[in-house]
């Protein structure tokens, strides 16, 4: 980068870059200048891509421990199981967990009134994210949001079912569609237990494919009590 002041500016232009003469020399073929120019362009491109990657990664939210990741809830023993007909919100059978935006359903081994049986039942339980624990009780984690238009669906003890206050969509204890404008049954998360028996919900993995049940796919019988608005 030293400047040779013994040469005139014109000589300097030709010898160390720029100038019409050197441009003509460059056009004759691939020259040192061309290689250099391409290397600089390539280098800038790489730096640009890396910078963009860094910027986007830095801005992408880190979900560890928050909604959207695997959330560890309380121990299994907190969620007391119940028969389908005797469910009471946050006391037995159905529990609300705000941190995971989920309802945890826990039914006794014999308390679930299945409408199906045998292999058909097993296939439907698997497809609907049901989880049978070693003691035979049934677990399920439902997403709190109504699949109709996004209201939070409360569990109604008097109806023994979920009833949406916004437009009246009605779901069974296991989130199965009963009546109302909802297009499908409630969405559900993948559930599991960790080594010390704590309930874990993967809130990043949502099953949104449970269609309105028909005679071949309805798992639980509808509640018999009338549910007024």
């Amino acid at each position: 980068m030293s400047i040779d002041t013994n040469r005139t500016p014109q000589e300097y232009e030709v010898l160390s870059g720029g100038g019409a003469e050197s441009a003509q020399m460059a056009r004759r073929g691939i020259t040192r200048r061309q290689v250099l120019r391409r290397a600089v362009t390539l280098g800038l491109g790489v730096v640009g891509i890396e910078g963009t990657y860094m910027a986007l990664t830095m801005l992408y939210p880190n979900l560890a421990g928050q909604f959207g990741s695997v959330i560890t809830l309380s121990n299994k023993s907190k969620y007391q199981s119940a028969a389908q007909k005797q469910v009471l919100i946050d006391q037995r059978g159905i529990f609300y967990e705000p941190s995971a935006k989920t309802y945890i359903m826990h039914l006794t081994k014999d308390g679930a009134d299945f409408a199906l049986q045998g292999q058909t039942l097993q296939n439907n339980l698997d497809a609907s994210n049901w989880l049978q624990d070693q003691d035979g009780t049934y677990w399920l984690s439902l997403y709190q949001v109504c699949v109709h238009l996004g209201c939070k669906v409360p569990f109604r003890d008097d109806c023994v079912s979920f009833k949406c206050p916004c437009h009246g969509s009605h779901y069974n204890v296991d989130g199965e569609y009963l009546d109302g404008p909802a297009p499908r049954s409630l969405d559900r998360f993948t559930m599991s237990f960790d080594g010390s028996g704590n309930v874990q919900v993967n809130t990043g993995k949502l099953n949104q494919h449970i269609q309105r049940p028909d005679a071949q796919t309805r798992i639980l019988v509808p509640p018999t009590v009338q549910c007024s608005a």
Binding site: M1, I3, Y12, G19, A20, A23, I30, M58, L59
Partner: protein, 269 residues
């Protein structure tokens, strides 16, 4: 590189540069002819702060050491890294420290960006100071550049204040006590000492939550805005005052000696 690759690259290159989209952005060819070299400097908003041609003596690295340019470059680096830090930092006394810890541990590249911001800030204080010392020794503050020197002094002060306000934001023991010591100095000002201190800290009892939000606002918008405007004037005036001053001309004694020699030669002939 094989001949075929070269042909392909060249053809792709010329296809792009002759397209209408390209020519609507760059209205001249690659700057390797005197005309294009002039057009690029005059037509590009970022480049036009430079003149088309520059004196070879003033361009020497050993003359400027690029200190002013590097200060501006560091300002740009600080602006970009600062904006990214702003996405995660909340200027609230109860959470600020946790935010910094999260930026260091939980945010992708957060630690790197915070490090860059911190070191670039210290470096900028150094380059700005050295730039000012360099300008003094070259006498480049003399007419017609007097007022640009004054703007430079205010830019120096802005740099110090930017660094000083940023010091408090992590809300750790270093920043807290550095600002406590610094703001207590202001209270010794004659006449309006207490008022100066209270305005700075936002409360009479020392550094606290109100100080944090004050320093944050000054740090992220007030001072950078002032700095950017002053910089625009600074650069504009460099151009208007004829570019860099260049190395000092010969001293009076040398000029007189040269004149005496000339007279001698003239009288001999």
């Amino acid at each position: 590189m094989s001949t075929m690759n070269r042909g392909l690259l060249d053809r792709a290159g010329s296809y792009i540069t002759s397209s209408q989209a390209w020519r609507s952005i760059f209205r001249h060819g690659y700057p390797d002819t005197p005309l294009n070299q002039s057009l690029v400097m005059m037509g590009n908003v970022f480049l036009h702060l430079h003149p088309v041609k520059v004196s070879r003596k003033a361009m020497k690295i050993t003359y400027t050491w690029c200190l002013g340019g590097l200060s501006f470059f560091l300002f740009l680096v600080l602006t970009i890294t600062g904006v990214f830090l702003m996405f995660y930092f909340v200027p609230e006394a109860r959470v600020a420290y946790n935010n910094i810890q999260q930026i260091q541990s939980a945010v992708a590249f957060g630690n790197l960006v915070r490090n860059m911001h911190r070191w670039a800030a210290h470096l900028m204080v150094v380059t700005v100071t050295l730039h000012m010392i360099r300008v003094f020794y070259h006498g480049a503050y003399k007419p017609p550049r007097e007022f640009n020197w004054v703007i430079g002094v205010t830019l120096f002060l802005t740099t110090l204040l930017l660094s000083f306000t940023g010091y408090l934001l992590p809300w750790d023991q270093i920043g807290y006590w550095a600002i406590t010591v610094g703001s207590n100095m202001a209270s010794y000002a004659p006449l309006l000492g207490a008022q100066a201190h209270n305005t700075l800290t936002g409360q009479p009892v020392g550094v606290g939550g109100p100080t944090l939000i004050r320093f944050y606002t000054l740090h992220v918008i007030g001072l950078p805005l002032a700095g950017a405007i002053l910089m625009a004037v600074h650069f504009w005036r460099i151009r208007k005052d004829g570019g860099e001053a260049g190395p000092p001309p010969p001293a009076r004694r040398e000029i007189e000696q040269a004149r005496a020699r000339e007279m001698e030669v003239a009288s001999l002939s």
